[in-house]
Symmetry: C2
Subunit: 331 residues, 2 copies
Amino acid sequence: MTTLEEVARHAEVSPATASRALRGRGRVSDATRARVQRAAEDLGYVASAAASGLATGRTRSIGVLVPLVDKWFFAQVLDGIATRLADLGYDITLYNATDDAAQRRRLFETALRRGRVDAVIILSLAVSAEEIAQLQALDRPLIGLGTPCPELATLRVDDRAVGRAATQHLLSLGHRRIAHIGRVRPGDSGVDIPTLRHRGFIDELTAAGVTSAGFARADFTIDGGHRAARDLLRQPQPPTAIFAASDELAFGAILAARALGLDVPGDLSIIGVDGHELSGLFELTTIEQFPRAQGAAAAAAALATLGEDVAAPAASLPFELVPRASTAPPA
Amino acid sequence: MTTLEEVARHAEVSPATASRALRGRGRVSDATRARVQRAAEDLGYVASAAASGLATGRTRSIGVLVPLVDKWFFAQVLDGIATRLADLGYDITLYNATDDAAQRRRLFETALRRGRVDAVIILSLAVSAEEIAQLQALDRPLIGLGTPCPELATLRVDDRAVGRAATQHLLSLGHRRIAHIGRVRPGDSGVDIPTLRHRGFIDELTAAGVTSAGFARADFTIDGGHRAARDLLRQPQPPTAIFAASDELAFGAILAARALGLDVPGDLSIIGVDGHELSGLFELTTIEQFPRAQGAAAAAAALATLGEDVAAPAASLPFELVPRASTAPPA
DNA sequence: CTGAAAGCGCTTACAG
DNA sequence: CTGAAAGCGCTTACAG
């Protein structure tokens, strides 16, 4: 790898001047700047990350803490982050937060503390109080994306409004027996996403003077949705519509309905949340939340905090109802 | 952040000795080693990546070059890589290879050359000749995973054998009118995955003395599979079985069959390749290829090349036929 | 076994 | 506008 010193020699200046010319800081005459740039290009010079990191204290890398299980969603988000960062010449260091306690401890106690990143983006991850403290001890900007952590500056969708919008959609189609599949965290202060979606559901039913046709708790997987829907549909007075708190739950609900011989949407309307890549395939009405844009927003927030010339995004992220064939008026 | 100097002061030794004690290199008395380790722990010391990188020339980070579009597959692979690397205290730097020409050039000409990584894993990516040259110029170990590049040491599944196994499965059920959905790269030297799967298909039909019931070229998406299957099924003598070169193609084929009023597997058997996370949901018979294990293998290969005490994996990766309800004897 | 010193490749006040 | 020098925080021959 070429060093700055070689570039300087070729351009017949000191390394100091070469550095200034390349970074565009401090006064350098146009002529020398051009000479240095030419030399750098000819030699294919790129400054060593370690050396300039050590000298400046800046790494030009952003850490992204992800639970790699959330496949489709996080791939989208990551793509959005990567694209936004690449524009400004930042790299991504990926930290995989698993459930394995030992691996996780090493992550928070060691990996993150090597000083490899200028800021950390935390993706939709439940982080313990101790882990939050460890993150804060890094003394670097932290950006949450959909994390249920009041301590973190978090970009989020208004999930209570999402719950309202989904429920409103079913009500406006004429449904009066509406059930919900999701999760509730008791005593939550208004940061847990499933809880907020459930509250929106209740809000809207209450406003419409309609009683809930049931709530089934489920793991946020297709299988979880399947089980929950089956339970709801086997009740004496089954719902005519289900609001599932995620698309995967909704996929499971669709399959459960089919397995019971029910037609969707003839016998049962189903709405999900996410805009999962397969929602089109399932003809699922859903609430799209633009994960790629979310990633770009998180990246922009991180960059803005680092003083880069980037507009900080709004803290509230957009969503949009996408009507498809899985919802219709009740029979 | 605590520095080595502070640790040394606390342990009442020189920074040199502190470094040796912590890294376990060179002679250090047990007593001092213990004192230093104690001090490091008390102070929460972790060596600065930039400083030790600059001093040793090693970053303890592995670059992973991914096409972030391949969602489910690459998430699995990445998880496998991350887990294997975390064991040895290596980090991941993620490089997103998009189709955007400018972004891509910046990636190969600048980002990768900052010297941030000790080795690069290239995931199932078609890389141009010039890009290969740029990778090689990095003078770092390169590990391909399923890349169609003869120039790269690449871990791969024997995809011709995969094609044979899939076809054999259909033949052994009694099918004689078997079609293939996939892609063929003319003149390929035996590295392009779809081409190899197609060759395996031909191999096995030839061995059985059976004529192909058709080949449909398709983009490797659900929609591509849908179109291709529709074309095949509208022929005067439609196939009774389809071997799709990927699970997503197979999902599309299943949907196309259903849309034409055909029963799977009653009227049409379908087999895919991948072990996609949704293959169970579709009851799809497929050839599982264990992407998480592939990631772990790629990581191990990289670490072994870097001299870490890790067994280098076999160059040929395993696969396994998973029979499900989408294949059955012809009616 | 331990320490002083040099060096990794940059950057940036400080002089001039 | 330009250069010499110091420093970023480690590591590692080299002496002792």
